[in-house]
Amino acid sequence: MKYRENLIQIGLLLTALSTIAILFLIALFILHEGLPIILKVGIKGFICGSHWSPQQGHFGIFPMIIGTVWITIGALLVSLPLSLSCAIYLSEFSTTKVRAVLKPVIELLAGIPSVVYGFIGMVVLFPMVRNYFGGTGPCILSAAIILGIMILPTITSIAIDSLQAVPYSFREGSLSLGATRWQTIRMVILPAAKSGILSGIILGVGRAVGETMAVIMIAGNSVIIPGSFLDPVRTLTANIALEMNYATGDHRQALFATGIVLFIAIIILNIIANTIARRGVEK
């Protein structure tokens, strides 16, 4: 009996370790493949270089970094007002029944394949952007709108959970002191839920940074430093996905190096999200 217990425990431990091992192997692999070119070009030259033409031996990914940053900021600008007001409404004003129906529906948004988002962007959004703002359609604006919708469920759902985790007694205490519902939300509930909401936002940012398919379809993919929100841009993820199947030698290594930059960015975002969430719990 005891022997069997130990066996199960060791088996589970090995399975758990193997998932961690996979993470390390991936990290090791892309570092091994990508690091040489970064060392060759120099970290500064690789990250801050604005010239990307692998055939001529120029490997600067700065335009892609800028593209990723702009699209992510744009996605946040689109998503935050929607997701936060949605979360506040569903958590604080709607009845339990309405919330029970609407929250799963919002979370369903996360289940739509990203290629479908890209498709909708091309068919519906491009003509609208052309008509109202000009340009050809594929640009930062289009990508930001679509990505904003894609990260909506992540932020909304985590924000609802954080708001609901605020003790009910805070609400009663504040209301009984003559505060209106909105004053209670603004002065007591939001500050108490702040850390949870922030970590939700950061997870949303992580999702936006890592998104590939939808972005390839609607961001335009030009390797330029954009001058306006109607310019097409290429993101880090799109860069890898677009060029990987024909890249060789230094070019191939440079794509892996792009992966390293993405990997580090996502790890940093996750660490920030976890720290904020933990600090919230300790408080």
């Binding site: 009845t95 504040s174 009984s176 002191l177 505060a179 500050p191």
Partner: protein, 251 residues
């Protein structure tokens, strides 16, 4: 003495659950009314009808009339913040907001538009003294309210309610989680406070009702069984069920 609050034919339901059954009760000004009764007798729900805190539960249905100084508080044009400033409340579990002691107390007055720093400081000192807490915290007003001990937190909550300058104070088992010493401090405070305020005290502790109450109402299963002066209820209760409860035969 004049009636501060008049309750007429009050009924309260949550969904299909009939919690309060035609309650008629007058609460006199500057007295402590204790409401006693076993668990689930509707005491707390009754208390929360007086500042309309039940309204935040969407399934609630209330009929009947509650007059505060002759004004029906369930009339359509009653502003809830106004009502809740007139009728302050202290909960069973002390729940300071996650702010400093000072900020906990000035929270209500600030919302009401008091901004002068001198006035707020004066209010903090006055209310903390009235709640017998001033001496213990005067040097650390900027400490988080949640760092205080349970008894101190409850007195902070009383001070916070007083800072609204209410006319009525509702207390929902304010001593249920406290040790005897903290309890006696709060009772001391109540005794002083009734000179200025009308106090409604829900308590599970019949001895407490006997110690501090002027009048007592006994609730059972959503009905008010008996109402009378503290002396009468505890010496010659008219109803058999009241007698059974206060002598400890049930509840």
């Amino acid at each position: 003495m004049e009636d501060k609050i008049v309750v007429k034919g009050l009924n309260l339901c949550f969904d299909t659950h009939h919690v309060l059954k035609s309650i008629d009760l007058n609460i006199r000004a500057n007295e402590i009314l204790s409401i006693i009764g076993p668990a689930n007798s509707g005491k707390t729900s009754f208390l929360r009808t007086l500042n309309r805190l039940n309204d935040i539960i969407s399934t609630v249905k209330i009929t009947g009339e509650i007059l505060l100084d002759g004004i029906d508080i369930y009339k359509k044009d009653i502003l809830l913040p106004w009502l809740r400033r007139k009728v302050g409340m202290v909960f069973a579990l002390p729940v300071p907001l996650p702010r400093s002691i000072f900020e906990n107390i000035v929270y209500g007055p600030r919302l009401n538009g008091v901004t002068s720093k001198a006035k707020l400081e004066e209010l903090v000192e006055k209310t903390l003294k009235a709640a017998f807490l001033w001496d213990e915290v005067k040097d650390r007003l900027h400490l988080s309210g949640t760092k205080l001990s349970g008894g101190q937190q409850q007195r902070l909550c009383i001070a916070r309610a007083l800072a609204l300058e209410p006319e009525v104070i509702l207390l929902d088992e304010p001593c249920s989680g406290l040790d005897p010493l903290s309890t006696s401090r709060i009772e001391e405070a109540l005794y002083e406070l009734k000179k200025q305020y009308t106090i409604v005290l829900v308590t599970n502790n019949t001895k407490q009702a006997a110690r501090v109450g002027d009048n007592v109402a006994f609730f059972l299963m959503g009905e008010m069984i008996e109402y009378g002066s503290t002396e009468q209820i505890f010496t010659v209760p008219h109803d058999k069920r009241t007698e059974d409860y206060i002598t400890g035969r049930f509840g």
